[in-house]
Symmetry: C3
């Protein structure tokens, strides 16, 4: 893919590998991470390929978000990142952020989705190389508007989207969901930091653990809840793996109460 990009785009300032560590074939988790990562970059053409449907009739999209463009399979991968890019407050710390517009909210952001038509790629198993990299190079060279095989898709039902539901809130706490596990083993929930109580302890399932602002506030090996750099609550262990200690996986439901 890097070779195809450099072979087809002439004025590339930086070719940056954002990550190759996403779980294979998991569009939903990949969409979460892209929404965390891409808003921190200056305007760029982003090439994102997590593509379990490679070779099938699934389409390709170019999503325009401000001065950014994301080229990806039409499987929802690019949409959360595009919405995060155009959300102006995405770099505001948890303590100041409005929890209603955090990840998982229903706010509609003005992103534009274009269908990218392609035919007869060289392979049926590696469209990253044969479809998406040439498309990204073309977008980089001439811009979204100048590509004839791009057609704007207005109807939301005409492309695949990925949404992260907000936590269910009740009088006694909330029901969270695990969105992703990071490389350190921190289990990231869909709970915006602003939804957490102003307390020193919180109940996770049947257990009460410290609610802290950073890992090192607790002894090594201590289970804890904190707000991560994504502004969401995460289940963690100081110098250990939260996913193992709390026995949770992506998609699991977790009860947080106080």
């Amino acid at each position: 893919m890097r070779g195809v990009l450099l072979d087809n785009a002439t004025a590339v300032d930086h070719l940056v590998d954002v990550t190759h560590e996403l779980p294979r074939g998991d569009v939903r988790v990949a969409a979460f991470w892209l929404a965390q990562l891409l808003p921190w970059f200056p305007p760029a053409v982003h090439l994102a390929v997590v593509d379990p449907g490679v070779g099938s009739a699934r389409g390709a999209v170019v999503v325009r978000a401000g001065d950014h463009a994301i080229v990806a399979p039409d499987n929802g991968l690019a949409l959360p990142a595009a919405r995060a890019i155009v959300r102006e407050d995405h770099r505001i710390p948890a303590r100041d952020a409005d929890p209603d517009i955090a990840l998982g909210s229903d706010s509609e952001a003005p992103v534009e989705v274009f269908a990218y038509e392609y035919s007869s790629p060289a392979s049926n198993t590696f469209h990253g190389r044969d479809v998406f990299a040439p498309a990204a190079a073309a977008v980089h060279e001439v811009g979204v508007g100048a590509i004839e095989t791009l057609e704007e898709v207005q109807a939301p039902e005409a492309y695949v989207d990925v949404r992260f539901a907000a936590p269910e809130i009740d009088d006694a706490g909330l029901t969270a969901r695990i969105l992703a596990i990071d490389d350190f083993g921190n289990a990231i929930t869909n709970v915006p930091g602003g939804r957490l109580p102003d307390r020193e302890k919180i109940r996770v399932g049947g257990e009460t653990v410290p609610l802290v602002t950073f890992y090192g506030q607790t002894p090594t090996g201590q289970r804890l809840v904190t707000v991560g750099s994504h502004n969401n609550a995460e289940l963690a262990v100081h110098d250990g793996r939260g996913d193992e200690a709390f026995d949770v996986s992506v998609g699991d439901t977790v009860r947080l109460a106080w």
Copy 2:
């Protein structure tokens, strides 16, 4: 190695990490992957180091293939990639490719091999840093022709080569060999896609499995044969690992019949 390159070459446009994921010390598998990867890049100086003979008397080579140069140990690593670069049809899809000139054919490509003389590197265990990176920087700076320590080697027996044998074909099918296992667990054979029959099923060893054009044509977990992005037949599993399901490793022989 990146530091040495940047310290010795002044006009580097892009310093691209192609891969650091090759199996350690396996020159043959690395040569296969380089032959898949490098032809997709625009002309460049490629630095390739898989070097189990580091510190011994094995030599260093610069291989010129069109406007590309590959700097590598004299262990055959660079030759298949160089031949792939100069083969004009390497980007043609399997359905259109001539199976006689696919990977494993005997066609001789006009690549030039130069011996690179070096003496007394700073270490005996890391010639990537101490021999090959400085050589690659020099080739980048002044070109192959201007380096005095480069001498063209004409006789094929004067340098080490790596060849991938073609499959043995008979009336009932063919005998394949596993060349590499990719990161997803797909077991890549030496059988050009054009050699496969126009059928919906194929026998692998004693078992009959679907012969498909992409993974998603079968249910999750289904063993299958398809043609990968390298234009060779591969043993795969939809959303699983073909190497485990078919119980094959690099170098194994596999019978394909129909």
Copy 3:
């Protein structure tokens, strides 16, 4: 972090990923590797983050070493690398190097340490993104001297340092310590190559093994001692893992005798 760098620094020639493979949270091992890696680069702003104290009151530093600057947590991570950069002989092979000034010596190098003040980063768990990357971008843009939030720290006790002790030498040999395990499983000691005897065999613990100049001098699977590309003695296995064969971990003491 790459996004923040590119978003805040305008004239970046190359954004190079040196490594993401350091053991998590182990400042000492990371400091060893940085001291091996950074001196081979041309002058640059190096951003180094291994940060188990993230979110706590630990400070941030910018360390100036010649024309290089290293931006890092104030946990000692940057200091060995800074001293290695200003040591002029760091690229001299083991056979020619003065063992008295090798890694682990007490020689003081003229590096300058500046405290970098920051307040209220966006997160308490990812200062790589929220503190150190913006600092590195600022240093790259305007230089160390022009940053108002930088203040030179003169007293060695005012910042955290990491030192690697020299081996203890006696009449019968020396007592070494394992500083790091590399990716191949080679166990790297604190013994400068120049301290090894001019012999063909050496005793490691209770066992006598070959003392060789490169791995391939011995049969596959042979335990051995050699001098690695870092100029230190390492415990290795030809085409195998030295750490497993010698049963050693980082921090272990090993007796070398002859």
